[in-house]
């Protein structure tokens, strides 16, 4: 088999596997539904990846100002989660903490050490590698 053809077959298999996974279990299905957030990358916007979805919940929930929490979640699709972060664009600052990330082969992850220290609009950021390129998948939340 030619190398190009082999790569194409592998890519097809990977896509099929992803599809099967998606049919078998919706992204983040195992997460508690009460506070679950789904963020789908549709390829639009600046640097946003296509074909990936991030599902996550804060732990502990609910979101609270100035309390440490973890994000438990799942990345679905043909991507690799590199980093989780958060910032306040309007205030031009991020968190005072750098979260650590632990990944499992099935796309589940735990980001620990987050703390949103003031009320206002925060942007949760997921840096994802798709096809060798790095993208950001963002989700804004308003903290009171």
């Amino acid at each position: 088999m030619k190398p190009g053809l082999a790569a194409a077959v592998l890519a097809l298999l990977a896509a099929l596997l992803t599809s099967v996974q998606a049919i078998a279990a919706p992204c983040g299905e195992q997460l508690p539904p009460a506070h679950r957030v789904l963020v789908e990358g549709n390829g639009q916007g600046r640097g946003e990846p296509a074909g990936v979805t991030v599902a996550f919940v804060p732990d502990p929930a609910p979101w609270t100002v100035s309390r440490h929490f973890a994000l438990r979640g799942q990345l679905c699709g043909a991507g690799r989660l590199l980093r989780v972060d958060a910032d306040m664009p309007a205030h031009r600052h991020g968190m005072n903490y750098r979260p650590t990330l632990s990944l499992q082969p099935d796309g589940h992850f735990v980001a620990q050490g987050l703390l949103l220290h003031m009320p206002g609009r925060w942007r949760l950021r997921f840096e994802i590698e798709v096809g060798g390129r790095r993208h950001w998948l963002d989700h804004s939340i308003d903290l009171k």
Binding site: R92, G113, I141
Partner: protein
Amino acid sequence: MLVRWRGVHQALRLVVRLGWLGLAGLLVPGGGSLAFPAQAQMVHAAPSAGTSSSPGVLAFSTVEIGRILSHGPWPPAPADAAAHAPAHAPARDPGNALSGQPQAVALGQRLFFERRLSPAGVSCAHCHRPEQDFADGLARSRGVAELDRNAPSLLNAVHERWQGWDGAADSLWSQAIRPLLDPREMASSPEHLQAQMLRQPALAAAWRRVFGRELRREEPQAVLVGTAKLVSAYVATLVSPRTPFDEFRDALARGDQVAAARYPLAAQRGLQLFIGRGNCQLCHGGPRFTHGEFADIGLRFFVRPGVVDAGRFGGIEALKASPYNLLSRWADPAPPGQPDEAVKTRHVEASHRHFGEFKVPGLRQVARTAPYMHDGQLATLEAVVRHYSELNLERLHADGEQVLSPLRLSPHEAQDLVAFLHTLTAPGPARSKVLQPKAQQPKNLNRVATR
């Protein structure tokens, strides 16, 4: 604008129905607007049933009422620890298994006032005086020598995420080690501590009761850490009393119009500024009136000509290098079921913007803890308000937080804001006498100090 009470109470009930009563923070996913889309909606005046009209309460909007309620209740309820903001956490010093143990608290209280811990005769209470709300009233404190910073009040310190103006310590006990050893403060040493306590049989016996070990057989380093944990077990009991603001806040919460109207209108106007145009609540939020982190507010940061206080940037470096932080072998494990107390230490990271940042202090008892800021450079609350009113943005380092802009307060507004700040302090000087330490009456001291 004044409003009759029923309107306020109706708004409050609406708040309760929407499920955000008392939460310091509420977040609505989706990035859109929030539980209260009509942020400017005002509570309309309505006649009070069965009472004389009570025009003593301002027309706070539903959003404002929610913000006011988020500053309580006070004192925090330990039972709510798991579900609420940090201020509601149980009063426990992280990494300190002695915290909350009555015998340790009693011994720690005695050590807090013990001058012999220092070769120079300087006790913890030298700079943290009970009669001055556990501060000392000096711009820069003086132990063996003058220091570079102001002594913060120890009231509510147990609820702080970080200790010290630069947050160089992640627990009360690790913070307590620094002044013990600092040659400008108590100038002590592990060996001196051990020798002094061994000379007092009562102390040695108390040590044995708390630790189950003989003091004379302890390694000096263990005596240092043990002493710090004992003192901190006592400091962890120091909680500030209720204030006029708390009475107003709780009156709002329970729908007591008469009690709410006792809160001075000037203070109410100042409160409205604090939670509104002043943006003060962004950093001074929650029941302790602080988010527990650090900020650059354009203060002078030269310690003396040519010497700069690096603030939080230096604090994080010191924390990471400390042999006594929560990641060290000296930290006791958290009780079962409690969250990882070292998560903050593990994840905090210094960046350039931390340079010149200092801890956002809580504001409870603020009127009794002048002078203000990390080096006491502002003598009065009026000066503090003036600082924010005339803020010089060019003094902010790096990009600066966009939260800050000069408030340009009118003289009346400045007076109102000061009036509000005064209501965060329990009235009356009488408590200072009661709080005066008396070694022979530790129970009285402890009872009053933990009100």
